[in-house]
Every structure is written in C-alpha cells, then in structure tokens.
Symmetry: D2
Subunit: 364 residues, 4 copies
C-alpha cells in the first residue's frame, strides 16, 4: 500500500513546494489539509484548488474557527495569558507527539534542507501556480486570536516599527470618539456583549474589529524563544487584550485573595507551557483543572471603554461579588471592627519583629 | 522624666488633633515630625508652625524626597512592582516593629476611639487652627511615587471615576502631540534622561510631569487589603508606570530566560511583602539580594513615546545585550544551526510523548 | 427560646469545665458533641456520660473515624503532606467560619479568661467528676493520623525527648526482625495491603500498628505556629510516614517530570493552607482539583520494609508506569538515540552560554 | 601549531581509550587531566602514569578535594539539596559552555560512535594497559559528596537492591551502639564537630565515615533525567544526609517563617538547576545571592545521633535563635497575649468566610 503523508497546508510557497518535495523524497501520497483558524487572506476553496494543482493526492479544508475560539482561546482568557498561537515547528511537533505519538513527523525545511532559495527554484522548475516574486519583508503568522510579525527592519531592536507592520489595528494616535461596551462573563469565560448572548467566535471577532479600530492590542517586545535565543516580535491581539483586561478585573471582584495570589503562579506556568509547545502535557491538564475550579464564580459584567489604544475598565458588577460595600468604607459605625485590627497587626508583624530584636541584639 | 511621644504628623485634621489628644491621654510631651516625601500641598514650614500651634512640645520637618526616591522607589523599579506607598496603619506599625522593636506604638484612631466626629469636636473645642469645614469626599494619599484615592462615589464599583478624582494626570483622551525621550538604566535603575545623568528624584519628578501630561499612569481597580477585605482604589503613578515599562523591556534584552522566569515569582512575592507592610522583613532582604544580582547587566537605553495615556517602548539598545542579530534571523546561512533543533525538540517533547503513549495504552 | 451552644467536647478538664462555665456566662443550654477521630483513650460512652454529669443539656458521640480517614487523611497522602491535625483554636475557628459563617464562635479560654487555674478551681467548686490531680507534663493531641506532644521539658530545645513522650511508636533502636508489605495505590490513594482490598481506616490503623512497632514515624522539630511564634513539637505518625514514602516513590514512576516539579509547589502551599487552618478555603479547593488530576495514573504497587525506625521502599511496579526499561539502559543498540542528545544539550545550554559570552566580553 | 585537546581523564576504560581515539580522529595532542574529588580508588600518580602509557602528550593530576568540598558541597548544604554530582555528559558540556564558551567540546562516545564494544576492541588492538575483563555490572560515579550506582539488576525497579551495590554505607540493620556528635554551623555552613573547628573537607570526610558506619545516607529511587527519561538510581551520601538534617533543623530555629517558606521554592529551583547542569547559569547566581542573605544567622549547634540508618537531631541551640521560651509556653501569665489572637484569627479567616457566605447565598 502506498504510504500517505498528511501535510499541514497553508497555501503559501513553502507548503505548496512541500507537496512535491515530500512526494519525491518519500514516494508517499501527500494529502494536504488546510485549517481555517481565522487567519483571513485567501478563500479556503482557492487554497484547496492550489493544493491539488501542486500535486496533492487529495486536499481537505476545515473550518476550525468555532473550535479554535472555544477550545483554545477561551482557556487563555481563564489564564489571563497573552501567548500567541504561533505556527512554529516546535509547537507543531511537540503537540503532535502527544496527540498522536505513533505518527512520524517530517519537517522538510529543517531536516531535508528545503531552504527558501531551493523552494523557489523547485516551484519555478515544476511550474507550480505560486507567485514567488512578491515576498513580504516580514515573517507573519495570524489567526483570529492574534497576529505576529517579525524579521525585516524589526531585527534592529532600536528601530521603531514601521507603519506597514500593523494589520489588525488602526493607529491609536488618531483622534476618534471612544467606543463602549459591557462584557458578561460566566465562570471565567465571556458569554455576552451588551447583554446579548454570543458564541466565543462571535465575541472574539467583534472585539477584534471594535478594539482594533481604536488601536487596542499592539505589542512590541523582545522575547525568548524556546530554543534559547532572543527575538523581536510585533503582536496585535485586540480582542485578547480587551477580554483579558475585563476578565482579570472581574477576578479581582469575585476571587478570594489567597486563590488570586497563587493563580498568578499558575498563570505564569500555564503560559510558559503553552509557549513551549506543551499544550497537551500532563502538567497543562492539571493546571486546567485548577483553573476550572478557580474560575467558578468569576461571573458578572464589566464595562469597557475602547479609546486611544487602551481598553479601560470603567465599572464591574457581579451577583457573586466578594466586594462588600459595608466592609470597604471607613466611617464611624461601619461593619468592619477596627478594633480587631490591633490583634491582627501585632501578630502579623510578630515574626519580623522577633527577627529585628534578634538582629538588634547581635548588632546586625 | 516626662515621657515623649513621636507623632508622624501630616498637618491634616487627624494628626493635628492627635497632638492634644495623645498629650491628654498619656501625659506625654508630643513631638511632631513631618516628612516631605513629595506629597505636595502645603509648605513644610507652615506645617511645622501648625504643629506648634496645636500644642506640640517640638516639631521637625524632614525633606526625605531624595532618600525616598533612591531607597524606596528604585527598588520598586528593579522589582517591576506597582505597589503604592499608602499611609495606612498596618504598614506603619509593622514597619516600626522591625525598625525599632523596643518602641511602643500608639494608634489613637484605632485604639482610643479618636473617630472623625470626635476629632472635629475636639478641634473646635480647643480652637485648633484647622479648617474642618472643607472635607474631600475621598480618602487620598500621595507622594512622589504615586497618588491613591478611595471612598466617595468610588465605593460603587459599577460607577466610572468622576473627573475630580484625578490630580497627577491629564485626561488621556484629549488630542495632543506625543512626547518622546530616551531613558538610560545601569544595573536595573534609571540614571539618565536623553543622555543627561540625573538623580532618582529628578528622574521621577520629570517623568511625573511629562508622562502625567499625557494621561499615563491611571489605574482603577478593586484590590484586596491585607486585613481581608476588598476595596476599590484609583491610583495615579505616571513616572512609575513609564519607568517600569521601560525597565521590564530592557530586562527582556539583557536577562537570560530562566532568570527572567523565576524573577516573575520573586517580583510577585516582593510586591506582596511590600503591600503587606513587610518592607523590613528578613524575606524582603533576601529577595533584595536576589534582585541586586539579577539586575546586574540590566544596562542600556530605552526609547519611550508618551501619548494618549500610554508609555510605549519604541526602541532598546544595550552594550550588554543578549539579543544576537545573527541568531535571531531565519535566512539560509544564519548562525543558528537549525539541525540542532531536531534533537532538542524530540527530547523536549519526550516526557509528554511517553505519557501520551501510556494514556493511549490504557485507553485514557 | 433558650439559646443553644454546641460544645466540641473532648472529655478532658477544659471542655468539661466549659459546659458549666459557658452556661453561667451566657445562660445558654450547652450541647456537648464528642467526635471519635481515633484519638483512643476512653470509651466514647463514658465520655458522653461525663458530659451529662457535668451539666450538659444533651450529649452526642459521633464515630467519625471512617470519614476522617477517607476525607481528611487520604488528601494528605495525595499531597505528600506531613501536616498534623492539631486541635488548636485557630484551625477550629477558621474552619467553622467557612463551614458555617452564620454561627457565632465562643472561645472561653481565650476570650473569657478560663485559664487552667480557674478551670481547676471551678471543677473543684462544682464537684465535677474530673480528676484534676494527675496532669501530664505535656500538651498532647492525638487521632488516627498522628499524635503531637509539646511543652514540659521539650521547651528546652537542646534537651533530647524523654522516653515518656512517645506513645504510638516503639523504640527504633531495639533489635527486631524487619516487617515487609506491599501497598497498592489507585489514582494516588492506598487501596490494598498485600493484595487485599481495605478501607482507608483499616489501612491506616494497620500501618500505625505495624510501622509503629518498628519505631517508624517519629519527628522532633521546631516549627512556626501560625500566630508567629516558634514551638518545639514531637510528632508520631507511623502510618502517615510509611504511606507517604510509598506514595511519593510511586509518583516518581507514574508522573511526568514537569508535573512532578510543579506539584512540589502545590504540595507546599496545600500543606501551608492546612497548617494555617484554611482547609475549607477557595484556594484549597482549587489545589485539590489540581491534585485530583495530577493523581490520575498514580496506580500500582510499592513494596515497603519496616525496620529500625525507617519505612524503606524496596520495589515498585505499575501497569501505567512511565519507566521504560529500554530507554533507561545505556548499552549499544538501546532505544534511546544518543545522537539526539547533542542538539538538545547545545540548545539547552545556549542561554547560559550566550550570557557567559556577554559576561566575558564585558570583563565580568 | 598542533591543536591540543584537554581530556577529562578518570583512568578507566572509556577515557583511556579516548586518548588514542581522539588523537587518531583529530590529529591533536591529547593532554589528560585527572581530578581528585574524593572518588577514592586508585592512587592519582598511578592514574597519571596510565594516561602517559596510553599515549597522552602530557598528564596532570589535580587534588581538588578542598575546593570541591568548600565551593560545591557547602552550597548544597545551604540549599538543603540532595543533588548528586554525577559525571554525565550534559552537566559537563553545559558547564563548560558557561565557563569557557569559546572552547569546542568533543564527546566521542556520543558523537563519534565510541561504544563500549569498540572501546574494548581498540584497547586490545593497541595493547593499552587497561584491564577490560572485570567489568562491574553497574555504572558507578563517586566522589566525596556521594556515590551513585545504576544499571544491572537495578533496571528491574521491582527488585530490591542487592548487597553489592553499597560501598559508602554499612548495613543499617545490624545492631550497633549509636554514635553521637555536635555539629556547629556559622551562617549556614558547618564549621566544627564537637567544638573543634574543621575544614569543610575534613567535616565531610569524617561524617562519611561515621554516618556511613551506621548505614546513614542510602537512597533508592526512580528519578527523571534531564533528557526526559526515567532511571532507577541508588545513592549513598552519609555526610550529605547528616549535614542537611542538622542544617535544616537549625534553620527552623534561626529563620523567620516567611523566609523559610519562600526558601523552599528557591531550594527546589536551585536543585533543579544543578541537576540540569546549569551550575554556572545567571539564575543560579541570583539564587546563590538569595541563599547567602537567607543563611545569615543560621548559626548554632545541633546534636545528632547516628544509628540504624538514621541521623536524628536530638538538640539544637543558637546565640541568634528566634525560639523564645517565654512565647512558646501556654501557661497563665505567659509573654504571649492570647487576647491578641482573637483579632488575628477573625481577620485571618475573613476572606474565606466572605467567600463561604457568598457560596452559601448562591447555593453552591
């Protein structure tokens, strides 16, 4: 039986060339699979045609946007995580090793020398229906959760980003009237805009448009790649930034202090794991169990103002709030017994005081 | 010998009344000490006169602004910590217990019933030179590092802050031309603006003015007080926000990955300790030792653009950068050996893959 | 209607006196409730009679041993936690505040001056059927999970514990033949001894006897009490120590590395929370969710040798083991591709190497 | 100029063969360097002779025992770390990359196929003065800090270790009279035995003998290697186990609670870094700075009893103790004001209580 290779197909130069390249190198039938995760750009049917024209034995296109929004973006909100779903080799390969450990992975760019120059030569020699002349100066990945952009002039980390690196966001410096909305959350995930129930995909899509229109969600940073090198990246994530701003403030209202403090450590580790390609790892699963329990009662409304590059929380309310108006105020006759504070403060500071007395005694 | 009580004197109603109140209750001489930590407002000499007029046996005013900037604000930059130096009772008392464990602390508001109503009555009865008629609806603390504001309409957490809560920052929504500057850091602390060496106080003062003029540094949040209750606070910290934005980005350039990741945990604990009044605790000292070592080589320049409520990093450069242009680029012939990545990725994912094979075997 | 006070009744001097003391002070009916959590000592029926004889309006005895073993001891095994269930005031009160926040707590020893001297006087005056003459020099708490002992000569922390402090364990220094057994675990909790399925209570009871007979489980330590003071404690926990030794080694076989490393942090925080009286807190619940997920697949057998004060693991096996004989060996032709290690090691060390080159360059 | 290769030479089969193997493969002069880190076995002069006889251009022997004890073992005591200094390839290579990033590393076993079979054939063909007939069934590493043993029957993790795996420790099950001693520490490191000042090397050497004679320090565990596989290891570390038992108990006496709790996280990360070969990494340096500050005042004496495989602390005293006899006792009239506890406990439990009230209200 002929061996089959499943190719994660984007429709671009590299993966179009890979169809024939892999077929030649392995003698296998290549099945191209293209996934719509909200990356925009070409029509998925066009992409499917191109795969077949490039020699794929078969080609499939999958609309995974609802699944991507619900199963991959919402968890990032629970974790207040600003990771970006980049298409790099490490994440693909480590993820696959966990989802389908019995499958062999081929990585032609890395393992069989399919450099960009060779790919262009291959495309021209075979007459593949790919335009190789217009190449962006940037390396770009994008989906409905965000967009990343690197290389080109960005490699000079002293140089400010040129205007042409941005695509999901308008210039925040242009004067406009602010936009406002109320986001509703249930158990840590967004469920409605302005009181109207919406799917995760619908919420993310609308916020990308509305927050992006005010320049919300631009990030310009030097970051550490998993393989140990530093890289300068431009991100745009309007919906993600707005949703996390609202979500984390609602947590402040509904989450108990010790839990909120420990959750910071869980959020950091969760984000590291996802960044490091370990989405399907045992630790990730256990952290998800923590987050699910921690997110119970993160329920309520947050009012956001979108303006000038910022998503600012201007109000929050919750039927399961831990904020107690009576406790918070300081006036005479309030609910909070100031007298209790004396005992608390004395014992709270006792270990430090005992150590200070010791240090004083030994002349430290 | 007559007992002496040192009173931390602000010049306001409560501490002015406390001079006579404590004298009456304890028979002690009250020495008023007023500290200038950049809170602005009245002249320190005026404040000294008032203390004497209210019956203080003696009064001292201390300009602690340089010390406050150098010894209390700079460490917060190293820790990327957005804590605010609030004057609340817990921090005063726990701090004193460590600095001078042999001293007795009096807290008349908490421990001898000096409520606001009684304080006003006392002031009127004694004819103290205090204006008790104009009372702000807010409880406000401020110094050169920031300003906090609470109570009043802010206790309704669904209500947006009124315009009159802001004092250190202009409205970020008003169109203005952006401001730009280059901040220089040495071993984690700011040392110059636009190439001119400056003291910590001078840097903070200038940034409060320039960043504040663009509405940078507004925070509106529900937070957890140490004594276990939630409270809604408005903060303004223009210099702090701008400095930490610049500092943390420079860390991304100069700090190794594992160190940067662990430093997040240290930053969180450091901030909790400071918030919890444990500035002088043994753990704080050990974290400071960590931060001092971690901050070596956080040296270089960061270009900031101040505009529309945001302090945005647009460039960074460092003589001790860990960013390597040659490693970061992806082109054919680059320094980074893509072939090495194969071994790394396979072993990196091996534990997850082994667990996935196990789970598959047991039908999990 | 007459007010009712529920008294947690131990049968000892303090709580026997508290029956009348509380009745006198509050005019309430006192209902004594005694809980059997394996503390041994007197018959529960006798304890019930004494409560009534001391003036209780009613008295209940509850055999909570199975519940205590299953719901309070097993979670401690999952967390590898050596906390002891001490009866101190803080844990009672904080736990109650969470379980029944609407209930008022009375603490006569602390809040209404019921000192030991006054309690003895009260007992004698009222002719209560309590022997107040034979008082242990120690303050002792015990249940089926462990026993703690403090005060007396133990307050001199340089003095070795006298022989009379021990009750659950024999002298480990006496020569005996070793005992051996095989413990089976399912999803992180013990389910069988030597292949025979047993209840949690039965397993703990048998291990207390068998491990205690070999002196396993003695602990002599200075610890930090929640209220900020250090205290010297003697613990005996034969079953706990043996079970945790076996459980943690089985985790080494069945748990993936990253998960195991993060679980250390969760274990520490879990133990702190329990020690600090926060068993019913939101953070504890979220950590329990983490532990439940992490403990899936901690399933298999551990062989223990009990001898000379030690519970030593001598073998472990599991149907869901992650130990792979083929990967672990080093010989020629093994499953593990040594060649992959080169790429891994180079990239693993790359951040440190880059930093070292930087340090060398700047003469650090 | 002829290229020079520095060979880390142990005197065994692999490194003896490597002298000629590397010379043949690279044309370089091979300089053998043998380091005495207390591994015992052959005389260092004999080892030097063998290197020359095997064709080394030159050979050096270095007595690094004092340095190893002072600079590598003492830090492990401060960190309460039970890592073992194993000679594996990863640690060597990552360490070298940081110490001398400009040097090229050769790893003939891994990178040029020098398997054990080929090494034996090479030794026989060249007539090298190595006995290749008596091969231990185990792979063993040892130095003055500990000894590890793996492979052979140990690969069956259900099988108990045979008697012949142990070399540093006697059978703990044999009846003997206990041994006792007093260890003195200054700022976290051991400085004297029974009141006599000693060097780190001398203390470790004596404790290896005395604790080893009572079977102290045996460890049998399944562990996770850095490269992602599980391995079964036998360790013996008599001095390490005894020193860490004493040191950590002295910390309980001299270290403030918050510091002690956070130090647990630092200890774990420190141990992971060392295990993972990152001794010279920036994070390790920053953790060392934390540990140095944390270890100030960990000064005093600990009495140890060595018996039956256990090193048991029976007493501790310190001129800088934080243990306060007056605070720890519970009797009437003690220093600790029980009344303060009420305020502390109420506020301590307030966040959990508020959450419990919320949960009750929403029927959770």
């Amino acid at each position: 039986m002929t061996k089959r290779v499943i190719l994660a197909y984007s429709g671009g130069l590299d993966t179009s060339v890979a169809i024939g390249w892999i077929a030649e190198q392995t003698g296998a039938e290549v099945i191209a699979v293209a996934m719509d995760v909200g990356q925009g750009g070409e029509n998925m049917a066009t992409i499917r045609e191109r795969a077949l024209a490039c020699g794929a034995a078969d080609a499939e296109v999958v609309d995974a946007r609802e699944e991507f929004a619900a199963d991959y973006c919402l968890p990032a909100i629970k974790a207040n995580a600003l990771y970006m779903n980049r298409y790099d080799q490490v994440r693909f390969e480590v993820g696959l090793a966990s989802l389908a450990p019995e499958v062999t992975v081929l990585a032609p760019v890395r393992d069989s020398g399919m450099t960009r120059d060779k790919a262009i030569a291959f495309a021209e020699e075979k007459g593949l229906p790919i335009d190789v002349t217009h190449r962006s100066p940037y390396s770009i990945d994008q989906n409905l959760w965000g967009r990343s952009c690197e290389t080109g002039h960005l490699e000079d980390i002293w140089e400010a980003p040129h205007d042409d690196v941005w695509a999901y966001t308008e210039d925040p410096g242009v004067p406009r009237d602010p936009d406002g909305l109320v986001l509703s959350f249930a158990d840590g995930v967004p469920v409605a805009i302005d009181g109207v129930a919406r799917s995760p995909l619908s919420i993310i899509t609308e916020l990308n448009a509305r927050a992006g229109a005010h320049g919300v969600g631009r990030v310009d940073m030097v970051e550490d790649r998993l393989v140990g090198i530093k890289s300068r990246e431009i991100y745009e994530a309007p919906a993600a930034i707005a949703l996390i701003a609202a979500h984390s403030e609602l947590e402040s209202v509904c989450m108990e202090l010790d839990l909120a403090r420990f959750k910071r450590a869980v959020e950091q580790r969760w984000t590291e794991l996802v960044y490091d390609g370990l989405w399907y790892s045992p630790l990730k699963r256990a952290l998800d169990a923590f987050l699910a329990e921690a997110s119970r009662h993160v329920t309520g409304d947050v009012r956001l103002r979108l303006h000038g590059g910022q998503a600012v929380v201007t109000g929050r309310r919750s039927p399961v709030s831990l904020y107690d108006h009576g406790l918070a105020t300081y006036d005479t006759g309030d609910t909070f017994d100031q007298g209790l504070a004396r005992g608390f403060v004395e014992l709270w500071g006792l270990p430090s005081k005992t150590a200070a007395l010791r240090d004083q005694r030994v002349g430290d």
